[in-house]
C-alpha cells in the first residue's frame, strides 16, 4: 500500500485530475462570460464533464492510497480546511454564487443555457436558475459522496448513510421532481416537509397542488402532512432525528458530503450553544406563527389580517429561506463548518430536536471508563456538541442538536462512543465506573 511505485502512480493521476479541473474552470468561465457568443451547451457540458472527472480522479487518488486511520491527517495544518486564505476564497465564491442565483439570475445565463438539453430531457421544460442549482447541488452531493465513501470506507454505518443521502438527493430531490414536471404535474420534493419546506403547508401551496395536480396533488399534501405530524414523531421516537438529518434531508446530505472536510470548524464554545438556542427555537416559532396566520387569513378570506400574514411569509422566505439556509448556510462552509444552517437555523431540526430530547430511544452511549479525553469526538462534531464532556464522565449523550452522523464514534481512538436506540427508561443513566461531576455544561 505504501510502496513507492504505487504512490507515484496515484500522484500521477492526481495531477491529471488537477489539470482537468483547471481546464474545466476555464470552460465554465467561458460559458458564464460568453453565453451569447459561443456554444454554451458544448462549453458548459464539457466544463461540467471535466470538472466531474477531474475531481473524481483527485478524490480517488488522494483518499484511496491513504490508510483509513490517516484520513484526517493534516486537516488542521492545511490552508483549505483550517480557515486559511484558500478557505476564505472558496467561501466568497460560494457565497457570491448564492447571491447571483437568488437575486441576479441573469448573470448565470450562460450556465443555465448549457443545461438546456438536460432540462428538456428530464423535465420537458426550459432550463432555469433553479434547475441549474438543483443540478450542481446533486452533482456536489454525488462527487463528494464518493469522497465520503472512500474516507469512511472501513465503517459500514457511514457507507450506508452516505449512500442513503445520495439516493435521496438524486432520486427524491432531483429526478423525481423533474419527472413530475415532464408529466405536467406540480413539482414536488417528497423528501422535504414542513417546517423545513415551510410553504408545503401554506394555504397557497396546498391550494395550488390540489388544483393543478388533482389526485396526485391531494396525495402530495397528504404525504407532506403525514410525514410532518405522524411519521416524524414516530420515526424520531425509534431512531432519533438522524433518520432525517443525516439519512434523508438534502441540506444534511450536502453537509455530510460536500461539507465533510469542514466539520471540524464548528464552534464548540458554550457561547455558540447559547446562540444556537436563542436562534433556532424563535425560527421554529416564526414558521408556526406564519403558517397559522396564513391559514387564518385564508379562512377569513383576507378580511381579518389583510397583508400581515403575507408580510410574515415574505420576510421568512427572504431572511430564513434564502439568506440563512443558502448564503450563510452553505457559503460559509469553509469558515464556520458544514452545519451552520442545521445547527442555528433549521426549524425542522428544532422540531426533531425537541422530540429527540424528550421522546426518543436514541442516545450515544459512552463505554465505561475508557475515555482518554483526547477530544477527537468534540473536534469532529459538526454540530458543535462537546461530546468529550459527556464521555469523560461516562454519561450518555442526549442532546436535541445531535444529528446522529456517527462521526464521533468513528474518530474515537478508544471505542468509547456508540449510537444506540434503547429503552427510554433510564436513558440518562451513565456508567458507575467513573465519578460524575454534578456541574452541568449547559447551565
Amino acid at each position: 500500500m505504501y510502496k513507492a511505485s504505487t504512490t507515484q502512480f496515484y500522484s500521477y493521476f492526481k495531477y491529471i485530475g488537477f489539470t482537468l479541473m483547471a481546464i474545466s474552470l476555464l470552460c465554465l468561465t467561458v460559458t458564464l462570460a460568453g453565453g451569447n457568443t459561443i456554444n454554451a451547451v458544448v462549453w458548459g457540458l464539457s466544463g461540467i464533464g471535466l470538472l466531474t472527472t477531474g475531481s473524481l480522479l483527485v478524490i480517488v487518488c488522494s483518499r484511496l492510497p491513504k490508510h483509513v486511520a490517516h484520513q484526517n491527517n493534516g486537516i488542521w495544518q492545511k490552508d483549505a480546511t483550517a480557515r486559511g486564505i484558500s478557505a476564505w476564497v472558496l467561501g466568497i465564491i460560494l457565497t457570491s454564487f448564492y447571491i447571483l442565483l437568488y437575486w441576479f439570475p441573469d448573470t448565470l445565463h450562460g450556465l443555465i443555457i448549457a443545461l438546456e438539453p438536460l432540462s428538456q430531457g428530464l423535465r420537458h421544460k426550459p432550463s432555469d436558475q433553479w434547475f441549474l442549482y438543483g443540478f450542481f447541488y446533486t452533482l456536489a452531493v454525488m462527487v463528494m459522496g464518493v469522497h465520503a465513501l472512500l474516507k469512511y470506507r472501513n465503517n459500514p454505518y457511514h457507507l450506508i448513510r452516505t449512500c442513503s443521502v445520495i439516493f435521496f438527493q438524486l432520486g427524491f430531490a432531483f429526478l423525481l421532481p423533474g419527472l413530475l414536471l415532464a408529466f405536467n404535474q406540480p413539482e414536488f420534493y417528497f423528501s422535504y416537509f414542513w417546517p423545513l419546506k415551510y410553504d408545503y403547508l401554506f394555504p397557497g401551496t396546498v391550494g395550488y397542488l390540489i388544483d393543478n395536480g388533482q389526485a396526485l396533488g391531494v396525495f402530495m399534501v397528504f404525504w407532506g402532512a403525514v410525514l410532518t405530524f405522524l411519521a416524524t414523531p414516530v420515526l424520531t421516537y425509534f431512531y432519533g432525528k438522524r433518520w432525517y438529518c443525516s439519512w434523508v434531508c438534502g441540506c444534511g446530505g450536502l453537509a455530510e458530503t460536500a461539507g465533510d472536510p469542514y466539520r471540524q470548524l464548528s464552534d464548540k464554545s458554550k457561547r455558540a450553544w447559547q446562540w444556537e438556542v436563542a436562534i433556532i427555537y424563535p425560527i421554529l416559532g416564526f414558521v408556526i406563527i406564519t403558517t397559522l396566520l396564513l391559514w387564518i387569513n385564508s379562512w377569513s378570506g383576507g378580511s381579518l389580517l389583510g397583508d400581515l400574514s403575507g408580510g410574515f411569509s415574505k420576510s421568512y422566505g427572504f431572511f430564513i429561506g434564502s439568506v440563512f439556509s443558502g448564503v450563510v448556510g452553505v457559503g460559509f462552509y469553509p469558515i464556520l463548518g458544514n452545519r451552520v444552517w442545521c445547527r442555528f437555523g433549521c426549524p425542522m431540526a428544532a422540531y426533531l430536536g425537541l422530540l429527540q430530547k424528550h421522546l426518543s430511544r436514541f442516545r450515544i452511549t459512552t463505554n465505561g471508563g475508557q475515555c482518554i479525553s483526547c477530544g477527537n469526538c468534540s473536534t469532529y462534531c459538526e454540530m458543535g456538541i462537546d461530546v468529550r464532556w459527556y464521555a469523560q464522565q461516562g454519561k450518555p449523550i442526549i442532546r436535541s442538536s445531535c444529528v446522529g452522523c456517527g462521526i464521533c464514534a468513528h474518530v474515537c481512538p478508544r471505542g468509547v462512543l456508540k449510537l444506540e436506540n434503547g429503552p427510554v427508561d433510564g436513558r440518562y443513566n451513565g456508567t458507575t465506573l467513573i465519578q460524575r461531576d454534578s456541574l452541568n455544561i449547559l447551565s
Binding site: 500500500m1 505504501y2 510502496k3 490508510h67 483509513v68 486511520a69 490517516h70 484526517n72 491527517n73 493534516g74 486537516i75 488542521w76 495544518q77 492545511k78 472501513n154 465503517n155 459500514p156 454505518y157 450506508i160 471540524q264 464554545s269 458554550k270 463505554n367 465505561g368 471508563g369 475508557q370 482518554i372 479525553s373 483526547c374 477530544g375 477527537n376 468534540s378 473536534t379 468529550r388 464532556w389 469523560q392 456517527g406 464514534a409 468513528h410 474518530v411 481512538p413 478508544r414 471505542g415 456508540k418 449510537l419 434503547g422 429503552p423 433510564g426 443513566n429 451513565g430 456508567t431 458507575t432 465506573l433 467513573i434 465519578q435 460524575r436 461531576d437 454534578s438 456541574l439
Partner: protein, 458 residues
C-alpha cells in the same frame, strides 16, 4: 475539609486534575494546581493527534477556562524547585513561596534512557511532555528517515506520527514480535503483521547499540546490536517511563522507584500524598504492579484520594484492570488479566481471529473452575461495564457465553463475530448446550444495577 485549608497539587495531569475536581465536589477548601509543563490540563494521550494535524493544541484541552473559574480551582504555571516539609512551604521558580496544609504529588513520569553512546545528539528524544511534542515538531520538520527504539505503546504512536508526515520509519524491537512482553503470541503476531503492512519497518530481536552524529552534532544514523547501520535524522526513544522524582531526592520523603505510598496514597510524611504515575505502592495487591502508569488508574487515584482527604477513608482497590490503545488502525482493548504466556495445565483460553488478520478476541480463563480472568480484543469493541461485572462477579466462561451477545460495542451495521467465538466455545466444550436464549444488553444492565448513582470504585 474546612474551607480555610489549602490543598496544593503538583502536576495537572489526569491524576492531579481529577483529584482537584473531585475534591471540589466534596469540599470548599482552597485548591491550587501547579504545573511547569502547561498552564492548564490537557490530554496527554492526544498529543499525537496534534502532531498529525487531526487537532490543534486547544482542542485537546478538556476543560475551558470558565470551568476552573466556576469550580474555583486555581492554576499556577510554575516550576517547584524545592519542598520544605517542615514548614510546609514550596519554593517556586517565578512566584512567591507557597504554603500548604495538604500536599499532593502528581508529577508523572519521564522517559528512560539507557546510556547509549550518542544519546545527547540533536534529533534524539522521547515523547511524554508538551515540550517534547514541540521539540519533535521542530526536529522532524522536512526529514526523510527516523528510527524508533522500543516496541511499546509510545513507540508505535511515534511511528504513526512520523509516518503521517511521509517519513520512513524503522522500529528497533528487542522481542521476537512487537509488544510481546504484554501480548500473547497470536495477538502480538497480528499486530506485528499489521505494522509491517502499514509500511513501518520492524527490526525484531534487535536493540540500539549506538547513535551516530554528523559534524554539527545532529544524528545521522543508528547502529544496532546486530551490527546494522540505519541512516536517519531522528531517533525516538520509547523504551519505557520512570516516575519523575528527581527534585525529591534530598527532601527526606521515602522513595523507591517512585514515591512510596500505602493504599490511602499517604507517603512517609504527614499530609503529603502521591498519586498517578509517580506513586509506588508499598504493598501492591498480589499480582498487581507497584507502579500504575495508565490514564485510567491516574483518574481512579484522583477519585479515591479526594474521598480520603475529605474523611471518607477507604483504601484504593483497583478492581478489574482495563486498558486500551490503538496500533495504527487496530484498536486494542483489554479487561482483567491476560498474561503473555501461561501454564497450559492451569489456564485455557478461547481465541478467535479474523482470516484477514485485522480482528481478534481472546477470553482467558482458569481451566479447573472456568473462572474468567481476562479478555483481549483487537479491532472489536466490547462494553466495559459488562466485562467489568463479569470479572468482578467471578463469572465462569460458561456464564459469560450465555451473555456474549450483549457485549459488543461496535458501531451499527458492523459485522458481529461473537457467533464464531461461540462456535469455538462449543468445539472446546462439547458437553455444553447452547443457552435457550441469548441475553440482550438492555435487559442485562438492569440485572447488574449498572446505573446506580454510586461509583463502583469508591
Amino acid at each position: 475539609m474546612q474551607h480555610d485549608k489549602h490543598v496544593v497539587v503538583i502536576g495537572n495531569g489526569i491524576a492531579g486534575i481529577t483529584l482537584a475536581q473531585k475534591l471540589r465536589a466534596r469540599s470548599d477548601c482552597r485548591i491550587t494546581v501547579i504545573s511547569a509543563e502547561s498552564p492548564t490540563h490537557f490530554s496527554r494521550p492526544a498529543l499525537m493527534y496534534v502532531y498529525m494535524g487531526h487537532m490543534r493544541y486547544q482542542d485537546i484541552i478538556p476543560y475551558p477556562d470558565w470551568y476552573y473559574k466556576e469550580q474555583k480551582i486555581e492554576q499556577l504555571h510554575d516550576y517547584v524547585e524545592t519542598i520544605d516539609f517542615e514548614t510546609r512551604t514550596l519554593k517556586l521558580q517565578h512566584s512567591e513561596p507557597l504554603t500548604y496544609d495538604q500536599l499532593v504529588l502528581a508529577t508523572g513520569s519521564s522517559a528512560v534512557y539507557y546510556n547509549w553512546p550518542g544519546m545527547q545528539l540533536k534529533g534524539v528524544q522521547g515523547l511524554i511532555t508538551l515540550q517534547d511534542l514541540e521539540l519533535m515538531q521542530q526536529q522532524t520538520n522536512g526529514i526523510k528517515q527516523a528510527v524508533i527504539v522500543g516496541g511499546g505503546l509510545i513507540g508505535i504512536e511515534m511511528a504513526e506520527m512520523l509516518q503521517s508526515k511521509g517519513i520512513q520509519v524503522t522500529m528497533l524491537v528487542r522481542e521476537k514480535q512487537y509488544w510481546q512482553s504484554n501480548l500473547p503470541e497470536k495477538e502480538a503476531g497480528l499486530v506485528t503483521q499489521h505494522i509491517l503492512a502499514c509500511g513501518i519497518e520492524l527490526k525484531l530481536q534487535d536493540e540500539l547499540a549506538e547513535i551516530l552524529g554528523d559534524e554539527t552534532g545532529t544524528v545521522k544514523a543508528v547502529k544496532s546490536k546486530n551490527g546494522e547501520m540505519i541512516p536517519c535524522q531522528f531517533v525516538g526513544i520509547a523504551t519505557g517511563v520512570k516516575p519523575t522524582i528527581e527534585f525529591l531526592k534530598t527532601s527526606g520523603i521515602e522513595l523507591g522507584k517512585g514515591i512510596l505510598v500505602n493504599n490511602f496514597f499517604e507517603t512517609s510524611i504527614k499530609d503529603v500524598y502521591a498519586i498517578g504515575d509517580c506513586a509506588q505502592f508499598k504493598e501492591p495487591a498480589p499480582g498487581e504492579p507497584a507502579l500504575e502508569q495508565l490514564w485510567y488508574t491516574g483518574r481512579q487515584h484522583g477519585e479515591v484520594l479526594a474521598a480520603v482527604l475529605t474523611g471518607d477513608r477507604k483504601p484504593y482497590i483497583r478492581g478489574p484492570w482495563f486498558n486500551s490503545a490503538k496500533f495504527l488502525n487496530i484498536e486494542y482493548q483489554t479487561y482483567g488479566f491476560v498474561p503473555h504466556t501461561w501454564d497450559e495445565q492451569r489456564y485455557s483460553s478461547l481465541y478467535w481471529e479474523h482470516p484477514a488478520k485485522s480482528k481478534a478476541m481472546r477470553f482467558f480463563y482458569e481451566r479447573e473452575s472456568g473462572n474468567l480472568k481476562g479478555v483481549n480484543l483487537l479491532g472489536i469493541r466490547f462494553r466495559h461495564d459488562l466485562c467489568h461485572y463479569w470479572l468482578k462477579e467471578n463469572y465462569t466462561i460458561h456464564q459469560v457465553m450465555e451473555q456474549l451477545s450483549a457485549v459488543n460495542f461496535d458501531s451499527e451495521f458492523f459485522q458481529r463475530y461473537e457467533p464464531e467465538l461461540l462456535t469455538q466455545y462449543y468445539l472446546q466444550h462439547p458437553d455444553r448446550q447452547a443457552p435457550a436464549k441469548q441475553q440482550g444488553w438492555w435487559k442485562l444492565r438492569q440485572h447488574f444495577s449498572l446505573f446506580s448513582e454510586t461509583p463502583d470504585n469508591c
